[in-house]
Amino acid sequence: MKGMTIIVKTISSWVKVLIFLFGIYIILFGHLTPGGGFAGGVILASSYVLLMLAFGREFAEENLSLPVASKLDCVGALLFAAVALCGLLYGAGSFFWNFIHQKYLVGTDYEFNLLSAGTIPLSNIAIGLKVAASLFLVVFALSMFRPEISGNKED
């Protein structure tokens, strides 16, 4: 997969930034507006897949290599588990207790602000990171798998 024509390359090099920004917006505002970690993570992954379609697989691998992507995946999973464990350690002793909101923000008028809702934005960021890295890895693994089949058939 060597990439597409120069028209596609030029347009996608502009559009990928906007898609990436929109994914970040969907993740960060997941507790205020529709969206959240999963949808935003898929949008982030699709910006990288657009890069892969337009410029070829090698270019995308230079931008986000496979070890980095799998590390991001693990970081997202660990962050989500850490948020859950913090509720167990700092709170009333229950998993996923919203300790930031219940301890510091309850009763204040922080609602509808970006910094509200306690652990929910942190969980959104963790899930977004995780979903983006995993879907990128899936597409990468599948696109690496395909030429091998046809190569085997030619042999």
Binding site: H31, G35, A39, A84, S123, N124, K130, L135, L137, A141
Partner: protein, 183 residues
């Protein structure tokens, strides 16, 4: 309500085109069009969270995933349909359709969910106290990341396990072979 019938007609036409066309890529795009119609339906039913997830997964998961992974020499479908398999699938779909009709007769009217009739139901508590208890303006985020966060943890675990399986099965060489190419 007429917008739903227009969308339904659009989705049925897209489904027929997706089955009948020979080009694999246009067939996939037609399946994506069905999902797009479904996400528009969710949008008109005032469920924007589901609409965003639906359109993102349909467009990404179908069109881009298949476009990125398809090999260029296999974009056309060849061969005829088997008659026996077609008859069996039509019969199965007809039976599921009849069962679905009897289920739909027992459903409550639109806009009056069955949980709303029970005052002690958990969903009523989410709607009345969710904002105060979690501070999140988006109640869907409050439910999936605070009240029902175990569910999201399980979903994340499923995703993590499937990625491990996919990267292990689909890799080109094992790690041992990468480290010692002589053996």
């Amino acid at each position: 309500m007429s917008i739903f019938y227009i969308l339904l007609l659009f989705m049925i036409i897209a489904a027929i085109v997706a089955v009948e066309t020979d080009n694999l890529l246009s067939s996939v795009i037609c399946v994506g069009a069905i999902g797009f119609g479904g996400s528009l339906m969710f949008l008109f039913l005032r469920a924007p969270d589901i609409a965003i997830t639906q359109i993102v997964v349909e467009v990404f998961g179908l069109i881009i995933l298949i476009r990125a992974t398809i090999s260029r020499d296999r974009t056309f479908i060849s061969g005829d349909r088997e008659f026996f398999g077609m008859v069996v699938s039509v019969v199965i779909i007809f039976v599921i359709f009849l069962a679905g009709m009897t289920v739909f007769e027992t459903l409550p009217d639109f806009g009056t969910p069955i949980f709303a009739q029970a005052p002690e139901a958990a969903s009523q508590t989410y709607i009345s106290d969710g904002m105060q208890k979690t501070g999140a303006a988006n109640l869907v985020a409050a439910v999936i990341l605070d009240f029902r966060a175990y569910d999201t943890l399980g979903e994340a675990t499923v995703l993590f396990t499937s990625i491990i399986g996919a990267t292990v099965i689909l890799r080109k060489k094992s790690k041992k072979l990468l480290e010692d190419p002589d053996e």
